[in-house]
């Protein structure tokens, strides 16, 4: 089973089309295995990116070096999934 321990979901805000293009570059970097939950579309819409724990620093540095504002939407994806799993099990019982 695939786990998501330490993975975070970052919410990025692109100010303009140039920053959207930078986010599209990030999407194309397949080796990072980032997962765009909400893709770069328009400057006024947030972009949500699930980032594997192993490349968190790399991705944050990439965003910061391109002056793209971001916040952490989900601190640890696995924690939420564990909670979800527990809820399902107790409902089943």
């Amino acid at each position: 089973q695939k786990t998501f321990v330490g993975d975070q979901v970052l919410r990025a805000h692109a100010k303009d089309n140039a920053q959207l293009d930078v986010l599209r570059e990030l999407e194309a970097m397949k080796h990072l295995q980032v997962d765009f939950w909400r893709g770069p579309s328009r400057p006024n819409l947030p972009v949500d990116i699930r980032v594997p724990n192993a490349v968190l620093q790399q991705v944050k540095v990439f965003l910061e070096s391109n002056s793209i504002d971001y916040s952490i939407m989900i601190e640890d994806v696995q924690e939420l999934l564990d909670q979800e799993h527990q809820d399902i099990q107790s409902a089943t019982l």
Binding site: Q1, R11, D35, R38, S41, P46, D48, L80, D87, I88
Partner: protein, 309 residues
Amino acid sequence: RERITGSFSYSTYHTIEEIYSWIDGLLLEYPKLVSRIDIGQSYEGRPIYALKFSTGGNKPAIWIDTGIHSREWITQATGVWTAKKIASSYGVDSSLTDILDNLDIILEIVTNPDGYAYTHSTNRMWRKTRSINAGSTCVGVDPNRNWNAGFGGPGSSSNPCSETYHGAHPHSEPEVYSVVDFILAHGNVKAMLSIHSYSQMLLFPYGYTNDLAPDHEELTELAKQTANALASLHGTQYTYGTTIATIYRADGTATDWAYNNGIKYSYTFELRDTGRYGFILPAEQIIPTAEETWLALMTVMEHVKNHPY
């Protein structure tokens, strides 16, 4: 058997086996209204079911599907709640009764069964189908880029490892061609409502072109009414518009295919989230989400009933 749907917890997420078993219970509970149509099999051989809510005769129909992207769990859960709501409201709620006296409703709760099973067993974040791609180690096709409407354009990916991989050819996925075959054979579907999450949006054709649909004004006005109805319960705010103008270019989508095949009222819903949880929307939000979505669905369905074409 009646106790099955009565005691079923609508406020939790369920496996595909639980949902399919619950469907059996619903059929027994409402045998005169609800029937199950086996419209095909998934790539891994799971049955694909559509529930038909009908008071008899061959009426024009409204098609609703949930869960084409498997990780969007709130959509399958909303589909289950909605099915029960339709069945239990007939003869009780005058608006819904009037709709069902004039139209059939066909609801596909688990549109991507393999993907959904995979999210429960192996990878909660799986979006695509589970078909094997020749020449690639990456599995699955995005079933909402696989329709024959602008297929293969830049609003989808030709890379099998991408989440928006369009597949080898239009309707390559059994999960897609089962729906296509059913709707074309039916021949009298008047609305197609494809339910996704998250982002809180109501989208309509087109996604693959900036051209406006001939019915653009009517679709926009109905979207506005629908978003207002949805917001009236819990204040959930939706944006609405064409897919390409509201979110981004998307090629090969279900609603564009539906519209191009004569189904005027073609919409994609993007259900809650407020942006705190994404695809891991807490189960406590299932019922509020389904309740507000119901108001939106009723708005569209009433419009379809009142505007035959």
